[in-house]
């Protein structure tokens, strides 16, 4: 790369933050904050110009005084708008995950310092959220980015902006964190029942009997049947748990890529497996996942489920 191009790229990065180069905490300093008039600001300035010309033409000293007073107000608003962003700190917190068609939630912390920041808008892609941040109290905001395809979903560049207090100026700053969420393959709408486990028992057909023993509690996951929720724990305020029963779910299942019908393409297979992972989870049965280039031993729980779904999400679109 010739040096000039490198310089240009550096400048472009500095101006527009196209690359996710902000590692951790970002302090919004003046070098990062842009400020320009809004449409309303432009309209007001044009009006001020007309007032100026009229006052000059008719030699209205008071007209000039009022015009300049309002111009002073506009100029002060510029500084206030700038100060509303300047000195604020932004920190990346976490990236969530979702199924295709849902939204990945990215959370950022806004630390306002000693000043109250009003009407600060964060936007990334099509998502925007507006927040008031009272002085001294860090505030977490979540940006929800839609996930149209499976795989990694990057937050991308976030624009923090504000037109407070008068809406005549818009100050904004870019931050670009390397936050990446995951979009799991959408589960097939009506999948066939879970395949048999190695023991040959069809757990889905058996259901839960009255004689089942409570094995313990595990974290609640969306989709768990209501009758399995540990409502007592919820009522106590201890959090959401789901009761896991010994023997209720039956033995472990093996979710195997190779056992799927030949005619299914990659995405259809991933959808089926995704649905089965959820199904096994719902049935409280341990599952093993076996795919080309990957084999997860049979296990159960939140981590295992996430590992399985992540593997599905990141599976290459073309078979090697």
């Amino acid at each position: 790369m010739p040096p000039a191009a490198g310089l240009l790229a550096r400048w472009r990065q500095r101006l527009f933050r196209g690359a996710p180069a902000d590692r951790d905490l970002v302090v919004l300093r003046h070098s990062r904050i842009y400020i320009l008039p809004t449409r309303r600001g432009i309209a007001v300035m044009i009006t001020l110009l007309l007032m100026l010309l009229t006052s000059l033409n008719y030699a209205l000293s008071l007209g000039l005084a009022v015009t300049f007073l309002l111009a002073g107000l506009t100029a002060a608003a510029l500084l206030h708008t700038f100060r509303n962003l300047a000195g604020m700190e932004v920190k990346p917190l976490a990236a969530g995950d979702t199924f295709v068609g849902g939204k990945v939630a990215f959370s950022l912390a806004l630390m306002p310092g000693a000043a109250t920041r009003l009407a600060v808008t964060l936007s990334a892609r099509k998502s925007r959220v507006m927040a008031d941040v009272p002085a001294g109290a860090a505030r977490t905001v979540a940006l929800e980015i839609p996930a149209p395809t499976r795989g990694r979903v990057a937050l991308g560049r976030v624009t923090l902006s504000s037109t407070y207090p008068l809406g005549l100026w818009k100050a904004w700053a870019y931050v670009h964190f390397p936050l990446v969420g995951l979009a799991f393959p959408a589960p097939e709408a009506s999948p066939p029942p879970l395949p048999f486990g190695p023991g040959g028992a069809d757990a889905v057909a058996r259901g839960r009997g009255e004689d089942a023993d409570l094995a313990g509690l595990r974290d609640y996951q969306r989709g768990d049947p209501p009758q399995r929720v540990a409502w007592k724990a919820v009522a106590r305020g201890a959090g959401w748990y789901t009761k896991a029963f010994e023997g209720a779910g039956g033995g472990p299942v093996v979710l195997d890529w190779r056992t799927l019908p030949e005619h299914m393409d990659v995405e259809a297979r991933l959808s089926r497996l995704s649905a089965w992972v959820l199904g096994a989870e719902r049935a409280a049965r341990p599952f093993a996942l076996s795919m080309p280039g990957l084999a997860l031993p049979a296990a159960q729980g939140r981590e295992h489920r996430r590992a399985a779904l992540s593997a599905l999400a990141l599976f290459p679109a073309e078979l090697p």
Partner: protein, 698 residues
Amino acid sequence: MIAAWRNRPEWLHNEGAVLPLKALQIRWLGALLLAAQVPLAVHLPIWVALFGAMLVALRFALLRRDRLRPHAKPARIPSWALALFAVVLGIAIRQSYGGYLLGRDPCVALLYVLAGLKFLEARTLRDGTLLVCVTMALVITPFFYDQSMLAAIAALPVILLMGGTLDGLARPGADDFEFEAWGTAVKRTLVMIAQGLPLALLAFFLFPRLTGPLWGLPRDAAASTGLSDRMSPGSISELSQSDAVAFRVDFDGAIPERRERYWRGPVLSRFDGRTWTPLPPRTDGVLAPADGPVVSYTVALEPNGHGWLFALDLPAQLPQLTQADGASDEETRSLAQLTREQQLLARVPVTQPLRYVQKSVLRGSYPPASQREVDLNRALPPGNPRSVDFARELRAAHPDERDYVLAVLRHFRAEPFVYTLAPPRYTGEPVDEFLFGAKRGFCEHYASAFVVLMRAAGIPARVVTGYQGGDVNPRGGYMIVRQSDAHAWAEALIGGMWQRVDPTAAVSPLRIERGLGAALPAGDPIPLLARLDGGWLKSFQLAWDAVNHQWRRNVVNFDFERQRELWRALSFDRYAPWQIVAGFLGLAALWALAVLAWLALKRRRQERALVLWDEVCRRLARAGLARAPHEGPLAFAARAAARWPQFAIAFHAIGQSFATLRYGDTGERPRERAAMLSTLERAIEVLPGAGALRDAAG
């Protein structure tokens, strides 16, 4: 770069422009508009004024209806109806302003009404923006008519409401934002205006003024009251009803006697039997030699819509713009010319307040310019036969011109002529009817009759109009000449010189010696301020006028000339324009830094509680009691109090006051905040240092 620019939706994104206005936003806009309408309304025809205010009131009524019936379809007036309405209004305004719409005044009236209409139909935020802009433009319109201090004060409410309105508009569709109370919003606007004030002042003094208008001022200011260039019976007595100020005068030395104070205006030579009109102006007049008592003074002239500059008889120099040293001869000559009839004529109509320095020599006679001028002033139209016969007879008895003039004046004095503002209407032969009928008249009747009698006897004569007298304001030491001082007198060619003759003085010497109020019979309607016994009201008015005079001198008349004067005084004229612009920008940058520093300082004060609390936490950590990250101020203070029971009260006070400052809602109550802060400070003072604490815990 281009690509990067293309995906830049940010700063001009416009979502929200079509969002509907919320009720509170509409209320702010309405208040803003009303505040702009009120000062203007007094200058508009009454129906326009009422109508505009009514439109605003109607919208408020609709809002109220919507609030009372939240589920009904919101009341709405269709746009086409409003457009039609606007056209009708435009036509009506055109009619009421004498058939033209493109002048300044009808445009102001139209803007006033259209703003009301727009408010009535405003629906979206974009409408809101437009309304704010229209309102801003409305704010300066009253200054076309009135730039008094009162007018300036009347403009303040709009400016104070501007911030809150813009703030309200700037929060589109965010229902979770409660607008602050009106007072808070106004206070914040006030702070921002105060912050912008230095910049505004700088701009006011530095922004270059124009020497003349950029575009024409068509027919606008001509409608103002004042002398006219036509005189018919009744035209000046009508003017006498007006207290309006014609001009103010600062004399450099002693003020001449009232009977010497003839302020010369239009000279009328043409007569059609009823109405006097001027000859076309010939601007090659010769200044009177300064061989008599010379008076020098400064005139602050109100706009009169004509080119007339008034001066005491007779002008000894051309008027100079206020600073005598600065204006070159070129500029002075371009300001005004002298007509052959010794009237000062500005080159452009006086549509703005104007100040000029003038010198006059107090004398009543000067030579005619040409024989033709003399002949023109001898012409008499047919008519008024009795007057003509009377003049011929009298002239036969008094062959000497001077004797004849005295005889005519004697006639006025001897016969029962009455000086009155309420003469009968003279219709057929006005001069005959006046001289031989009712014998009641105002100055224009006497001047007119006198000139007719002169011309009928072959003596060239003409009517001079202007002002006579003027009141000295004891508070300000300057003189006010009002429209009620308007006067008409005569000039006759006697002994080869134009001589001033005032027939009114023959009938009513008091008018000349003491003014209108003294001269008129008790029953006559005369304006309050021309009366002699105005009492405290007149004295109050004079005091008020004195303040206004200063205001005019220093604020309103801060025009091109005054600015040049100031720049000269500050030696600005040594700098090139770009240097002045650079200086201005530099000062503006300094201003920005100063305001930012101010904001930072304010923030530092808010931060104080946090700083103090951090200090306490650090001290306790050194003493062996570290605050857990999750621990709130109250819990930590309680733990500290348990560890050091002897300081329990101090710890509780610290915890309480810090928690209140930090998490309480004292934000809007500064006094309470200050009290809390001082509690916190004093409680911290009580605590010993970290070492002592460690030992105390022992």
